[in-house]
Amino acid sequence: MNPPGVYEGVANVIAALMLLLEFGMLRQALIRDQVRLYTAQSALISVLAIVIAANRNLPELYVLAALSAALKVVAVPLVLRRLLGSRIGAEGAGVAGSYTLSPASAVLVAIGLAAFGFFCFGSMGFHSRQAPETALAIAAAMVFVAFGLMIVRRDVASQAIGFFSLENAISLASLVVAAGLPLLLETGFLFDLLLAVVVFGMLIRSHHSRSESLSTTDLTRLRG
């Protein structure tokens, strides 16, 4: 097996770290810490954009990195914290009981999902000029783990975080597949995310004001 170069190695390591942070969100018990992990993951994708920009000489990626950092590292976590508010935040430390599986089993299940993601994209034999294909396989694994996160946690806040990190995974994939994508399109994606944040924020608040908790288990009692 030929060793890849330093650039590919660094890009893959950043992608792998993002995947590990996704797993961290899966087992993290506090919303506050989940938001923190999400912030770190978003910072990593900006770093990756800068690495690709510097190495492949794509100056517009610097703009994208700055935009994405401003939005996902600063704005989204800020808005999330605001919307969750001090009241929900304080008790809402309590999403710890929202596991449907124990943390260790959740991780094992998610490893299975990640394997499926790796396998799907690894077997496609995809090649990209901008970034290594392993990063694409990692992005696929991240998508599946984010879905897993939304499924195994029964609280609205974790599900929102899962959705936002899903967007991170897709940004990672788009960085690998189409780093030269027109900037306007990428910016459009980012504003979609902002919209999703507001919608999810409203959802969390209205759910909390109706059921006095962030848990979605009450929703199963609803009948049409």
Binding site: M1, N12, L19, L20, L108, A115, F118, F119, A137
Partner: protein, 321 residues
Amino acid sequence: MSAAVPIPVIQLLQVLTVAIAAPWVTGVIARVEARLQGRRGPRVLQPYYDLGKLLRKEALAPQGASWFFLAAPVVAVAAYLTIPLLIPVLTTYGLPLGYMGDILGGGFLLALASFVVAVAALETGSPYAQLGSSRAKTFSAITEPVVLFVVFTVALLTGTDLPYALAATVRSSAGEVVRPAHLLASAALFMVILHETGRIPVETHTGTNEFGMIEEARPFEHSGPYFALLTWGSELKQLILFTILADVFVVPWGLASTQRLGAVLLAIVALLAKATAVGVVVAVIDNSFAKLRLFKITEYASAAFLLAVIGVFTLYLGGGA
């Protein structure tokens, strides 16, 4: 300083270095740990004095214990002293006996040592010793998959399972160093080592608090020279694991590539420095995290397993990066 050292002497030096330096590393860790807690702490050489004192004491065995009880510490230490022959301690080139076993061979020796100590603990009939050995065996079954996946990573990276080959691969280019599989496997191995040397997640290293007692409980009934051998054995195991982490995975630089005396001496100094550095990191980690409840250990093991598995995935399913 340009005199060549005969190969058998280097081979002997590998074992002697590990044998003599092991208590020193333990002493350094204890010292750093005490400093972090605001205590002055014991002398760095204290473990040697402890061993010396124990060696002079009388040996007692519980009633009904067979010869195995007394043979176990000797077998364990013999197994630990064989491992430095198999791993790169001082040289980049494999010594004649270095190819008599691969990583799995080293793993078998570690397992054999741990097994005979556990059986000896069962011989005593003491609840503490049995509790320790039962826990040690249960939890090593949980961390075993992690070690296996680390070995798989090594196999995929080098095409062999020789520790010398991995060290050479890591040295060969910067691209190999930043490969995600290599970094993830090193991190997973480090987590296993933290557990195996009784630091994190549940044990208090020197404590006799039975809630988190594993390593300290097993030699509970041994005394005198036999207890000294067991203590020395666990210090040897610690240094061997640190050496594997440093010389095979993380920093396989500073080893002697020739037989010259200067290079070999430099390698000894480098090994001590690396082991001490790993020890300091371990002490800092040990002091900065709260211990988990005993049965939360599966969460720790699953985190280590995650690292190792993702490492294999990036190689095997992700296009071979």
